[in-house]
Symmetry: none
Subunit: 129 residues, 4 copies
DNA sequence: GTGGTCTAGACCACC
DNA sequence: GTGGTCTAGACCACC
């Protein structure tokens, strides 16, 4: 019964990745919040359970949850667990910032490959057809 | 006259960056090859000269050149230096494939944040101004 | 107890050899994998421990592990160590292909010296005695 | 007319190879002698011509010819060039030694891949069919 | 504890 | 001159 009222989230953990595990956990939670799979007040899966499910060190998960708490995505209640803190205003801003970062990084990347924006727009047409 | 027949490449080195120095060097060389500033057979600036120019340890540069050799962008001739191995066919395919992967991953990412292509195009205008 | 869950491998290190130390380490690990003394998921002895055991610089061992990672034999998890990545299918094919290439090259070489397969078989007997 | 009475030899030069160029030259000459394409008294292609043909540094070729002279495969006549010294006895021994080295190295290699002599004999059948 | 990057400097083979 | 290997040691992020 232990997970009765908690909400899990999708986590494509890749231990072989260069991206630190705590970052992967952080990103998975944020994505779930951005896409409203996790909403205000939801109790998130416990450190212990997540640790057991994926064979990750609990300290690593705690680090992820801690950062998420600092960033205002979660809050902790001693003895009960971590909960989603859906601050609509802040979220919007964060989401926008996240998006912009994605765009800017992407543009840098293709530039470093010698591609122009026009090349991208052409490629885009193949995807939007 | 010592660098008479070698070709340098643009390198915006940022020692404070989180991106390792050897990665920055790697990317700069790759970009020069992708954009055909360096072509098949060109002799690239020597480890020692590049080391001296930027105050980077020679080992760090060798690491970069080494990875580029593994990836087939350079080859080394002991006693003479590193040369560009511009395999046009393979290169084109790799570059195109890499680009497409970037585009497709990017589109997925923004979609998962609830953004549309139009949102992106709007954002794009801010960058291209 | 620190090495409780790591697996060592046989390493006949010869510091005086013309074969670089990192190559010797690489070959020892590959052999252990080819002969299934190391299998998928096994945690390999840490850079530091191996370094201490043989009095080799950690960087040298890291270089070996690094190449093995590039070749897909190992993968690293920051903070925990290097693990064997035994892709059975790929491995079998590679090993077989490599072996065949060796045989075919060898046969060509001795033929070009004017030796026959029978000459080889005679020579072989001296080795297998 | 300059090459009127000199004999060339096949040289598959691979500047990208890890094998030093002077070694490649040495081996090519030796192979030509072992297979009797070059025989006693033949005048071998001059350092200058070989250098020009392959774009190799003359010093590198001189090094190869020097070693071959030391090993008794060539002798030099000041002002005229290098000549093949076909010492039948010595040659036989060298050839035999070369062969044995090939065999022994080959056996080590396949052993390091985890293959047995029996595996080799099976593979051999496919080649001798 | 683990791997990852970087340095300063030595010494070698090759051209 | 060139690349290639190795060391001793510092400092960092991650678990």
């Amino acid at each position: 019964m232990k997970q009765f009222d908690t909400k899990a989230f999708e986590l494509d953990l890749d231990v072989k990745s260069a991206v630190p595990i705590y970052e992967q956990v952080k990103n998975a939670v944020k994505l779930a919040i951005f896409t409203k799979k996790l909403v205000e007040g939801d109790k998130i899966i416990s450190i212990r359970d997540l640790s057991a499910q994926y064979g990750i060190n609990p300290l690593t998960i705690m680090k992820a949850y801690n950062y998420l708490e600092i960033d205002g995505f979660l809050y902790s209640r001693k003895g009960t667990g971590y909960y989603v803190h859906f601050d609509n205003e802040k979220l919007k801003k964060e989401r926008k910032g996240f998006f912009r970062k994605q765009v800017s990084e992407f543009l840098k990347k293709i530039a470093s490959l010698g591609y122009t924006v026009d090349d991208f727009l052409k490629e885009l047409k193949k995807h939007t057809k």
